[in-house]
Symmetry: C2
Subunit: 230 residues, 2 copies
């Protein structure tokens, strides 16, 4: 019986067991080659510190990793804009919560020759060429939410949200063209409270609302599954 | 009339206008001299990265600083345990949201000779010798809340909270002796949701609950005041 349970955990793909949470952050200034110093993530790396904090907020629990979360960083800065780095919570290794740690994994990914196809740089971290349009195509059929201060309060409808994708801007927000693409793709505009906050703080608040909703639904089994995977 | 309003804003002490939020973080391993590298905040600085993220989560809004927040870092690591660094949102300068920035201000504070009296290191940052007991004495008469996973859900009572002090542990939690002191000082045990999270994430969630409660109370004037002070 024990052996059967063990096999079940390993051979049924995780994505079929639990709904995923995908989080997209648009880094308009974020450097697109690995030629930056981990000692200057806000400056020479084009506010990469923002993306690093988002990665950490999206993926870390107190004693482990959110295995049901993917983070997609859309890097749009010089010198080679249009790269997407994906952190897959399920397979991720070598990530610590500090900014330098995620900065280092981003840097390693940017050392790879990015093509239209995924290239793995370290376990759970992938890089490819792409833009917002190609990302949105990937999420077709899923519930898209775009964060904006004047959006509908997530607290009103978090209980209905499953298998969701949240899209956030950086310190420069979201351009008109990007907003148009998001709305055409069916994204709903949501907010997380009465005060305008940094993107990483918004991610923490999104998770909390969804955690609470799942807990109310009695989906605490989800976390047991996460632990079993580790 | 304009001149009168201007004078009003500058000469009435801010602390008399709005209730404060104080946040205490216990850093059991945090280095207590300035002999650490900003390139290794998690290692040689004794998980100082945790405290740096807490400072950032406690003080930053999207477009400014929470002027009504004080952060107290209780540093208990080697070589000279028992130092308290206070960040005063009202007077704070030279702080950016990245970990190195708060790490740098902490490092500068630790270069000072700490005594029982406050010594200012940079605008809005103060250091002194002290322990949890002396900190708790300072907060006498205020509403104390101690974060623990099995506490009462903050969402149930955030509307009643004003002029509050929140106390959080680091990655090692809170010792039995510290918990005893907290409970003796009248601290209530609170939680922020169904999942165990990092301290900086908890701070973001506390702020959100209090922001929402204040917004419901129509206290949006508070933020106008904050902006006027800047």
């Amino acid at each position: 019986m024990f052996i059967f349970e063990h096999a079940y955990i390993f051979y049924i793909p995780y994505v079929n067991i639990v709904p995923m949470r995908d989080i997209v952050i648009l880094g308009h200034k974020a450097k697109t080659n690995g030629d930056f110093s981990l000692n200057d993530l806000p400056g020479s790396a084009g506010r990469m510190d923002i993306l690093c904090r988002c990665v950490s907020s999206a993926l870390f629990l107190s004693f482990g990793m959110r295995r049901d979360v993917n983070v997609h960083l859309l890097l749009l800065g010089d010198p080679d804009p249009g790269k997407i780095i994906r952190f897959e919570g399920l397979h991720l290794r070598y990530l610590n919560p500090d900014e330098r740690s995620s900065g280092s994994l981003i840097n390693k990914a940017l050392q790879k020759d990015a093509t239209e196809q995924d290239t793995r740089s370290t376990p759970g971290v992938w890089i490819r060429r792409g833009d917002l349009k190609s990302l949105l195509l990937e999420f077709e059929g899923r519930a898209l939410f775009y964060l904006r201060e004047d959006g509908r309060d997530i607290r009103e409808f978090a209980r209905e949200v499953q298998d969701s994708v949240f899209i956030l801007g950086d310190h420069t927000g979201v351009t008109e063209e990007e907003e148009k693409q998001l709305l055409e793709a069916g994204a709903q505009i949501v907010s997380v409270g009465p005060v305008s906050l940094h993107s990483n703080h918004c991610i923490t608040l999104i998770h909390n609302e969804l955690d609470r909703a799942e807990s109310e639904r009695g989906a605490s089994q989800r976390y047991a599954d996460c632990q079993a995977e580790e």
